[in-house]
């Protein structure tokens, strides 16, 4: 017999992790609004940002219900402090140039895609429903980023260099995507959440396939930063939250 309370707490933490990943990356992408390299890409990035923010709302709403303390999606997004955020450090990184943004997006989206795919068979009905909804959009996002990586990597000398630099710089943050928490074991035992090992293998294959086609070298294993889920973040997240949470902090309870 498993302890329902412990499982629910583990699931709550898991949902926050999923929601934070989606919200923080979505917010980062939204910073491109009006600054895209070309109009079509400006629109594409902001479309993806909207999908991600929409997805975070689903996770937060469910997390709030599960917690049963009456916290809404907005409370979870706007009224938690930086150390309470569980997102991967990859998601919070600065946009940098377009190659960096699209590489960050590609590394993350390939991860989301395989994770959501595995969650289609979760024993948790709500998680399954969210995955079923999200994966259709994630598939489009993955194609979009892959296209760019290949086009830029296999492009000019300058674009190739920028894409290679981007993956070299971001690589040390990629293990953090897969970093489990002790409490995940409860969810894996109940087949609510998938094991990370299989997802890691699929991710490795997708990344390699696209980078190869883009004539980009997959970086060698090296030092990896892994702390996002524990709430230990890079300096960038605090600044992001300061802007994102400003309205609710300055005018608590403000509504549209």
């Amino acid at each position: 017999m498993s302890d329902t309370k412990a499982v629910n707490k583990a699931l709550f933490d898991y949902l926050l992790w999923l929601g934070d990943n989606s919200l923080i990356l979505g917010h980062r992408l939204s910073e491109w609004c009006g600054h895209g390299p070309i109009l079509e890409e400006d629109i594409a990035i902001t479309n993806i940002a909207l999908d991600l923010i929409g997805l975070s709302r689903l996770y937060y709403t469910y997390a709030g219900e599960l917690e049963g303390k009456g916290r809404s999606e907005d409370d979870l997004a706007y009224l938690r402090d930086v150390m309470d955020f569980k997102n991967s450090i990859l998601a919070e990184q600065l946009n940098g140039d377009f190659a960096n943004t699209i590489m960050r997006q590609f590394l993350f989206t390939a991860f989301s895609y395989h994770l959501q795919n595995a969650m289609l068979t979760s024993t948790n009905e709500q998680l399954r429903a969210i995955a079923e909804k999200a994966i259709k959009e994630t598939t489009y996002h993955l194609r979009h980023c892959s296209d760019w990586i290949i086009r830029l990597g296999d492009g000019t000398e300058e674009s190739h260099k920028r894409v290679q630099d981007a993956v070299d710089n971001l690589w040390m943050l990629t293990d953090d995507l897969f970093e489990p928490m002790e409490s995940d074991k409860l969810l894996i035992a109940e087949k609510i959440a998938p094991e990370m090992g299989a997802i890691r293998k699929q991710w490795d294959a997708t990344i390699k396939q696209v980078l190869d086609e883009a004539t980009i070298k997959t970086p060698e294993p090296s030092y990896m930063m892994k702390s996002g889920r524990k709430g230990i973040h890079t300096e960038h997240l605090g600044f992001l939250l300061a802007e994102m949470q400003f309205m609710q902090r300055a005018y608590p309870g403000a509504k549209w």
Partner: protein, 161 residues
């Protein structure tokens, strides 16, 4: 008390704010209408998770029900089964075309996972097949941007989901 058919008729008068020729019924987001002793229960499903129109649509349904004198009703949102463009009615597809938006093709699992291959589409304005995709992501989450190489007009394609 209004019947299911009447409620459906009322919902035909609620339009998607982003594609104002399609009603929420044409769009296939009304999944269920139930009427029992407690009132009318309407179940809807979102098109895209981040679609900003969903809140407006819910508000508009509320306003329409009130306008029609339906006082006890609730609106429930479900995620599963996930919305697909296949649920857009034939009538809806025709309305899209008349409005200048190329309707979605049948949602086959679209080609390879890792690469976009644009579909060959017919220009909704002049009927030419000599068209090309300019951007997979268009003016709203549900559309892609195309241009017709013959009549030179850009047009939206309601992409498959």
């Amino acid at each position: 008390m209004a019947t299911k058919e009447q409620i459906l008729d009322y919902l035909q008068e609620v339009f998607d704010p982003e594609v104002p020729v399609l009603s929420v019924v044409d769009l296939g987001i009304v999944r269920k209408i139930e009427i029992d002793a407690e009132g009318t229960h309407i179940t809807i499903t979102p098109t895209y998770t981040g679609c900003p129109a969903m809140n407006v649509i819910e508000e508009d349904i509320r306003a329409k029900m009130k306008e029609k004198g339906i006082s006890s009703f609730d609106i429930k949102t479900i995620l599963s089964p996930a919305w697909t463009t296949d649920w857009i009615s034939e009538e809806g597809k025709q309305k899209l075309k008349d409005y200048g938006i190329a309707p979605p093709e049948k949602s086959s699992p679209d080609k390879g996972l890792l690469s976009n291959h644009a579909k060959v589409l017919k220009c909704p304005r002049c009927g030419s097949m000599n068209t090309e995709m300019k951007s997979f992501f268009g003016s709203t989450a549900c559309k892609s941007l195309y241009v017709c190489n013959d009549c030179k007009e850009p047009f939206d394609y309601f992409k498959c989901l």
